[in-house]
Symmetry: C2
Subunit: 350 residues, 2 copies
DNA sequence: TTGTATGCGTTATCAG
DNA sequence: CTGATAACGCATACAA
């Protein structure tokens, strides 16, 4: 049996054929030697592996994908990468995917329904093996996902889901988080509590408002519609809505924000209006960034388990992709939020 | 010519062959009709397009990749996705890539050299068309990249680069940013200014320390080695280093931090020690998160152009990939930082 | 145990 | 203008 001598040119990458040629073997033999040790002469195998090493052989995943009709990549659709919640979630996704031999392809919807649809088309044509998605704020119907799902594409929702698709969902306990947060404000003596919500179409929005309402009700505080404001994700819109809220006859004593960006917009406007925190106005809200906790001494946060959500969602998706569960008993995983109360609320007004 | 009738099964996706079969044409004809209008009967073309539409045909990019030996995907290696600077940069990258028909595959080195090497291997075997990379804090030599680059893979550095590889680099003006920041502290009357740096092996670290030193020198302030501390990226390490800094015989009057996380660690420890900001200690630093600016009234930021860096780097990479410039005249693009000074520094100590 | 042939989806080449 | 064929890199059913 000939020896493997030809040292490969640096520019191109060796294929199974090159090894076969160098060793005067057939490609099938080489292939067998490279894969399982199944039906192969140990000596042949040794030689092949040695030669593969020398030629710096790397299997071509694209050829594999074509053959096996799978890409070993999963697609992730998020509203905005540049959002601490989603970047943390992607971190979790990437960790799991990496461990299980998958790559992560990122798509942003920028909170736009149209972009989301295009993203889904791209994902489909890219032949990803599965999709993780958190819906855009504009999305009201999910035919684009339904179609994909019907065709057999594994899909797992995280954070923002749609009930119209029967699949795994990984979410934070938004109801409980909002309930505890609101109750904390109530227990601090606040009665007029505003709720700055995100898009009314989102699942997270509905759940959080439910929790907010439940806490009010439990403590016998009437629900005031004027204290609940929805905003989309542009800074301008947020500021307008907050201005509107603060221009009403009855001013709230506290504001419950549902995102870091909303909290920041609040801080900015409250400062502009010389409204002191927390003396004049208590501030708290859903946050993913422990920054809020660190930097503003009077901000109570409902921390969302972004990393864990990404991890769990990725695990469920890859189980689906790898058909670990023949009968997909779809589940909804609800992860707890964490209420971080800082003692400074009481001592801050020195 | 037969009509296209068979409505495709939902599960699988139509191929060029299916269209050919349905229309009783050859795959080559179908292919031609689908691509350029070159050498094709307009009528045939119409029929093919119609049928493609009906069968919901989507070209298989994997087959294309195999044929053309390119993937229309670029790889991005960053230390940590869950870092506002990098997530913003990725945002910029994704925007450009998206517009030019490329997909973005994400890899994290987690500031580990070993992980970075593995990432590069994955990228290579994934056959991405190009690589954008910001080096890990642990990386001291770049043979892994050199090899890839020598083999012809287009590589563009952003933020953290190595001089050992001759290619495009897109960076912030770290020297100038550090100079202006330091000078601002000096002009506020501070003389003992500490500099909390990142890994000493990084280009950004060297550049920033140069700027810091230059500002001191310009104002006749002696350089004190004890005021410059390096830290890696773990929170524990940061806090240890800061504790160390604050336990020296001579306390600094100001701290210049080179990242948001360092700034946060500082805030936390200063608070724990009851050191007031800015009365007892001025704080400023490189920041990507306008959060710092919003939440802490006394934090002066040197804002880095993360988004723009991502965009510029992606543009340069894709030009390289598409060989727009036959002779790669590699350039180093330096983007300005922005010093955001907040007036509250003077009025805060009420 | 090894080799031959085939196919994954597409396009390019060449022949009609 | 259209059709047949080969090729991209790999794995496998089947033949030897």
């Amino acid at each position: 049996m000939k020896n493997c001598t030809k040292t490969r040119l640096a520019l191109e990458t060796a294929t199974i054929k090159d090894i076969a040629k160098a060793l005067n073997l057939s490609t099938s033999t080489v292939s067998r030697a490279l894969r399982g040790s199944y039906e192969i002469n140990p000596e042949t195998k040794r030689i092949v592996l040695e030669c593969a090493e020398k030629l710096n052989y790397r299997p071509n995943p694209i050829a594999l994908s074509l053959k096996e009709n799978r890409s070993r990549a999963i697609g992730v659709v998020v509203p905005e990468i540049d959002n601490p919640f989603f970047s943390q979630a992607i971190n979790g996704i990437e960790a799991i995917a990496y461990n299980r031999g998958y790559h992560v392809v990122i798509f942003q919807s920028h909170e736009s329904y149209d972009r989301e649809v295009v993203n889904i088309q791209h994902l489909a044509s890219r032949r990803v093996d599965g999709v993780l998605i958190s819906l855009s704020g504009q999305t009201t119907h999910v035919e684009h996902l339904k179609e994909l799902h019907t065709k057999g594409m594994p899909i797992v929702f995280f954070d923002r889901f749609s009930d119209e698709i029967n699949t795994h969902k990984v979410v934070a306990d938004n109801y409980q988080g909002a309930f505890e947060g609101t109750e904390h404000l109530i227990n601090s003596g606040k009665k007029h509590i505003a709720h700055l919500a995100a898009s009314p179409t989102l699942s997270i929005t509905r759940e959080r408002i439910s929790g907010y309402k439940a806490a009010l009700e439990k403590h016998g505080i009437p629900y005031n519609e004027d204290f609940v404001k929805y905003c989309n994700f542009s800074i301008e819109d947020m500021e307008n809505v907050i201005d509107e809220l603060l221009s009403q006859p009855i001013l709230p004593e506290a504001i419950f924000t549902v995102s870091d960006r909303l909290a920041m917009a609040c801080l900015k406007i409250l400062k502009k209006r010389n409204i002191r925190i927390p003396e004049d106005m208590a501030l708290m809200g859903f946050s993913n960034l422990k920054v809020a906790e660190l930097l503003s001494p009077s901000f109570t946060s409902v921390i969302q388990p972004a990393l864990e959500m990404g991890q769990r969602a990725a695990e469920l998706l890859l189980d689906l992709v790898e058909k670990k569960s023949k009968s997909p008993a779809y589940q909804t995983v609800t992860l707890p939020t964490e209420l971080v109360i800082r003692d400074s609320t009481k001592t801050a007004s020195k």
